[in-house]
């Protein structure tokens, strides 16, 4: 929202530098994002009068001009052809730094000196709309009445300072000069000046010319007046300057007046070409389904019952509150106009504006809120300007169709002690009343009870908290800097803690970092093709789709973690990074049914991916085992059913209750191809919700034996199909009570062992808790083991 410093001065006598004002507005709730000095590139440019023009003796196209710039005479060489003796022109002299980046210094043109340069409108940052001649491809010829030697910023009224103010949604009243002026008045405790709302009429009766009918609930107030004998010339420079400063294009007196009132009063207005209003009627109604209207931005829009239009007796002429139709706008030939000054329902304008994608200064203000009380002053102000600018004759009477209650007085009682409690600091009572009054809030205090009556434009003030905010933002937050005491002096002591899952996940993260892993962070949205690439054909295929996605890549909510990590690996390999060990703790979102009728299940998971030369299944298995060892999880491994893992080199982790709580293994070769990855990738995933929910691991330590363990090595030859797991458990049961462990330490394959055979070597640990074992006892156990292996798995002792 652009606010002009000079314009503010119409309402408050401020003698404060723009920088200070910007700072003050910011700290009292109106953040000034930028302070723009209109004259930034206009210094050292003056109004000059060309007194003599001669041809350059050595250059056909150059003219040597003698120019009176007030206190001196300078010589300017120009190639422009639109200059003439007696013309007033902008002259930039040494030091000037024009807005197109040109810096002026005296120059020699074939032996003739030039003290500077004449400027075009473009070089001064203005155009034809701002001043006649401002858009010509040549020098800007200034009006004859300008003072020779004057600074150009003063002559052209380009000496304003503009604040770009961020007005928060709770303060629609401040989308206007008058609103910000009220704030300035409160901040500095300065009185608001009255602006002139008076106007003269030429008699007659508005009702003879136009009638207004409101046929919708969504227009609480519609005011109209009629002006004839229009004089649609340019507005005076001061008015153009104001609009220009706020980024609005000056057009003609009538249109400029509506825009002026919009910016100053925050009240959108519209001016109709009277002769195009069929039936001399204005009807405010809901649009009909399929109704079309061509509007001023060059487009035609099709409307429906949710939109609102202003129509005449035949056709829609305006999309209410948003944009005017081409069929009824004020044209250069317009002689009579009807001014509209109305209030439209915020939601309706907002929805229509969003739906058709058109945002205008009007729709912006209507969608934030315009008050029922605003139009009256706004319309008067417009009519005042009509008089002041001599823009036409105002016919007596104003049409006012108002279905809402105006000048509503709203007052409530607030507790001063509650306000003190909210703030935690006590503001002197006199100051309280003074601040509220300066904000236009009538307030009286009796005991603890503060009687408050906010003005109509402060609908946001409803309770103690709102008053507390008004007080502290004007009083200043600095008060807390020097306040004694600490937080929570008057409240309860609470004991802090982490949700158990977060503790668990953090432990896993730290462990993985120790194992050389890097934590990644991926978007939880992905392409709808992710499951297909991962060969997934189960319920995880049912992904939640975003209704308004940013792109296809971010169009569904992930049900699988692996996709993102595989993309990370692909990316890293593509930039030459090697030895990739990644993990991520994140969520997958599994819908219960599609389309969503209830919230999905959000499941927290740890995923791990490794792409490294020499890495294998058992290294990953080691990582997984180590992560699980401190939990109380009892699990078994089964061949994995995960579709994106290699069916022979992967395992599912199955908890005692049958729940699959994770899996790990090599990525399926087809999947690698789908991701265009040419290295093996190992991947693991754990359900951290499940694991962190397990009861804490309980330890129960047995007495350490007095006797030493003994070890014996055996190697057996078995069929390939026989697993380590089978042999180990057979060894264990054969050893019985004496079993203290069995480690596989070698796997050997050779043709000499026979076809489809392998040799497995175990170190068997035995321990007798009661005595030292003799060699005979040990041999007996080992023989039992070998017999058992032979019986069960046809294992032969390797020679």
């Amino acid at each position: 929202m652009k606010i002009s410093y000079n314009w503010l001065k119409d309402f408050v006598d401020i003698n404060i530098s723009p920088e200070e004002l910007a700072e003050k507005l910011t700290v009292s709730g109106f953040e000034v994002e930028e302070v723009i000095y209109q004259n930034e590139h206009l210094h050292d440019v003056y109004v000059g009068k060309i007194t003599k023009i001669e041809k350059h003796k050595d250059a056909d196209k150059l003219q040597v001009c003698t120019v009176d710039v007030g206190d001196k005479t300078v010589q300017i060489i120009t190639s422009a052809t639109n200059v003439f003796e007696g013309a007033l022109v902008p002259v930039s002299l040494e030091g000037a730094d024009l807005c197109n980046g040109v810096k002026i210094k005296p120059t020699n043109f074939r032996g003739v000196k030039s003290d500077g340069m004449f400027c075009s409108g473009e070089e001064l940052g203005i155009d034809e709309n701002y001043i006649e001649g401002g858009g010509v491809n040549g020098i800007l010829i200034l009006p004859d009445d300008m003072k020779i030697g004057a600074k150009i910023e003063d002559a052209l009224l380009l000496n304003d300072v503009v604040f770009d103010v961020n007005v928060t949604p709770n303060r629609p009243d401040c989308n206007s000069v008058i609103g910000i002026a009220r704030e300035v008045s409160a901040i500095y405790d300065l009185p608001m000046k009255d602006v002139d709302y008076s106007y003269e009429t030429c008699g007659d009766d508005v009702n003879k010319y136009i009638s207004v009918e409101v046929k919708t609930q969504k227009c609480p107030r519609y005011m109209a007046s009629y002006v004839k004998d229009l004089n649609l010339t340019r507005s005076p420079l001061w008015l153009r300057s104001r609009l220009f400063a706020c980024g609005i294009k000056p057009i003609n007196k009538i249109v400029d007046i509506t825009n002026y009132v919009l910016v100053e009063q925050g009240q959108p207005m519209h001016a109709f070409e009277y002769n195009h209003l069929a039936g001399k009627k204005i009807i405010v109604r809901d649009a009909k389904k399929g109704e079309k209207i061509a509007v001023l931005n060059g487009n035609t829009y099709e409307l429906d019952e949710n939109d609102m239009v202003i129509a005449d007796s035949e056709k829609p002429v305006v999309i209410a509150g948003v944009i005017g139709g081409v069929n009824s706008c004020v044209e250069p030939s317009t002689k009579e106009t009807v001014f509209e000054c109305a209030v439209f329902d915020l939601k309706s304008v907002r929805l229509t504006s969003r739906k058709i994608g058109v945002s205008t200064d009007s729709s912006m203000r209507y969608s934030k809120g315009v008050y029922v009380d605003t139009p009256i002053n706004a319309l008067k102000r417009a009519l005042h300007l009509v008089c002041q600018l001599n823009a036409g004759k105002i016919v007596d009477g104003i049409i006012d169709k108002c279905s809402a209650k105006t000048s509503k007085v709203r007052s409530f009682k607030a507790s001063m002690s509650k306000i003190d409690k909210i703030l935690g600091v006590k503001i002197e009572r006199n100051r309280v009343l003074q601040i509220l009054n300066s904000l236009g809030i009538k307030a009286t205090l009796s005991g603890d009870s503060l009687q408050v009556e906010p003005p109509y434009y402060r609908e946001d003030i409803e309770c103690e908290n709102d008053i507390a905010e008004e007080l502290i933002r004007i009083y200043g937050y600095d008060v807390y800097n020097n306040l004694e005491g600490e937080a929570f002096e008057n409240s309860s002591v609470t004991v802090g803690a982490y949700e158990p899952r977060l503790v668990f996940e953090n432990n896993l993260k730290n462990e993985l970092v120790d194992f050389g892993f890097y934590e990644t962070l991926n978007y939880s949205l992905y392409s709808s093709t992710a499951c297909e690439k991962l060969l997934i054909n189960d319920e995880r295929k049912n992904v939640i789709k975003i209704a308004n996605p940013i792109s296809e890549e971010l169009s569904t909510v992930r049900t699988v973690m692996a996709h993102a990590l595989l993309l990370d690996i692909k990316f890293n390999l593509s930039v030459g990074n090697k030895d990739l060990r990644f993990f991520e703790v994140g969520r997958v979102y599994q819908p219960k049914a599609l389309p969503l009728t209830e919230l999905p299940v959000e499941n927290n998971r740890l995923s791990i991916a490794v792409c490294e030369d020499g890495y294998d299944f058992f290294m990953l298995k080691n990582v997984v085992e180590n992560l699980l060892v401190t939990t109380s999880l009892k699990y078994k491994l089964e061949r994995s059913t995960e579709p994106y893992l290699h069916s022979g080199v992967s395992a599912d982790i199955i908890a005692e209750d049958g729940k699959k709580v994770g899996y790990f293994g090599k990525i399926h070769p087809k999947v690698l191809k789908n991701y265009d990855i040419s290295h093996d990738v190992y991947y693991a995933e754990l359900d951290t919700d499940y694991l962190s929910n397990l009861k804490e691991k309980a330890y129960s330590v047995k007495e350490v034996s007095k006797f030493a363990e003994v070890e014996r090595d055996i190697a057996v030859v078995v069929d390939e199909e026989i697993t380590n797991g089978e042999l180990t458990s057979a060894i264990k049961s054969a050893c019985g009570k004496l079993f203290a462990g069995a480690e596989l330490f070698d796997v050997y394959r050779n043709a000499s062992l026979g076809e489809n055979k392998k040799s497995l070597a175990y170190k068997i640990h035995l321990l007798n808790e009661e005595k030292t074992m003799t060699a005979e006892e040990i041999n007996a156990v080992i023989n039992k083991v070998l017999k058992s292996l032979e019986f069960r798995y046809k294992a032969k002792l390797r020679a």
Binding site: K421, Y498, L502, T520
Partner: protein, 339 residues
């Protein structure tokens, strides 16, 4: 005899002195003190000494023996020490060669920052919880005093799934869940992901926030300000400066925005803080009583305050990360710098 003993002593001492290897030292020992040794022979021939001298000579001979034994053992130790030093010298390695074993990886900088922040909060009595990222319009907006078509909805472009279900735009949804589920007094802090329909060079559609909420009797702005002062000092150091601006959030009233000394430039002014030396760290405020009431908390008895920032920017400045997009790119060249 006496002379002979002294001569043996002298000779032996000389030989011990000159000896510089352990083997030779042993030979010396044998030569003098061994069974056939010179000193041993003298002692063995004691009976040839006249009885009246025997005592003196005996003492003398024992004295020589003791001296020799001492000299031998001293020299022995010295030689062993020398030999060890020499052996170690020969085992000297190049200590600049690379270490062996697994090299530590790294946590994501966001996790590190989050952990630091959460630890501070836990210390102050907050419980860290997380909640749904996909939520209903009610929890994300309505119960936070942002009814449908409220202008405040313009501040956040949402990603919708259905008319009523969306990806949360703010962790503030957790305020409502907490107020519904917990009994005051409580202090909670909820880190998590949020989603917006916004993707350009300085915005990610997914980013991280946390929401902290205190509900109790007798809490207000002063508690908030004092607490944030402590948090900022713990996060960014004792010298951090804080600046407060009034702001607007529908669910807090009064609402403020808190700026702290820009950690990228330490307040000198840089492109990130647009030369102001400050950057925004928290949005905060006293919980709007309407919000308390909507979630069934008696606003006459209880008050509260909330604060919640985007933390990606703080992660950026505290790690001097030049581009916010690095946070989700997972490039090893980036991650490795954060070990």
């Amino acid at each position: 005899m006496k002379e002979k003993l002294e001569q043996i002593l002298k000779e032996a001492q000389k030989e011990i002195e000159a000896c510089n290897d352990v083997k030779r030292l042993d030979e010396i020992r044998v030569k003098f003190l061994g069974k056939q040794g010179e000193l041993t022979s003298i002692l063995r021939n004691m009976k040839e000494v006249p009885p009246e001298e025997r005592k003196t000579v005996g003492m003398l001979a024992n004295g020589v023996r003791e001296k020799l034994e001492e000299a031998l053992s001293k020299k022995g130790e010295k030689l062993e020490e020398e030999a060890l030093l020499k052996a170690m010298e020969s085992e000297k390695i190049d200590i600049t060669m690379p270490s062996k074993g697994v090299k530590r990886g790294a946590l994501h900088p966001l996790t590190r920052f989050n952990n630091k922040f959460m630890d501070i909060c836990v210390e102050m009595g907050f419980t860290v919880i997380q909640g749904p990222e996909i939520d209903t319009d009610y929890y994300n907006f309505e119960a936070l005093n942002v009814p449908k078509n409220h202008p405040a909805r313009d501040m956040q472009d949402s990603l919708y799934i259905t008319d009523n279900i969306l990806l949360r735009t703010q962790t503030s949804n957790m305020q409502v869940h907490a107020m519904e589920e917990l009994k005051p007094p409580f202090k909670i802090v909820c880190p998590g992901r949020v989603y917006r329909n916004d993707d350009d060079s300085s915005h990610s559609p997914i980013f991280n926030q946390f929401e902290a909420l205190v509900v109790d009797e007798n809490v207000g702005l002063k508690d908030l300000m004092k607490m944030i002062d402590v948090i900022l000092k713990k996060l960014f150091g004792e010298n951090v400066k804080m600046r407060v601006r009034p702001a607007y959030f529908p669910f807090t009233e009064p609402s403020i925005e808190i700026d702290a000394t820009c950690q990228m430039c330490q307040g000198k002014g840089c492109s990130l803080c647009k030369g102001t030396g400050f950057s925004e760290v928290f949005g905060a405020g006293v919980v709007n009583p309407k919000v308390l009431e909507m979630s069934g908390i008696d606003s006459k008895k209880y008050s509260g305050f909330a604060f919640g920032p985007g933390i990606d920017r703080s992660v950026m400045v505290t790690n001097k990360i030049p581009n916010i997009k690095y946070l989700f790119r997972n490039d090893m060249r980036f991650l490795k710098q954060l070990r």
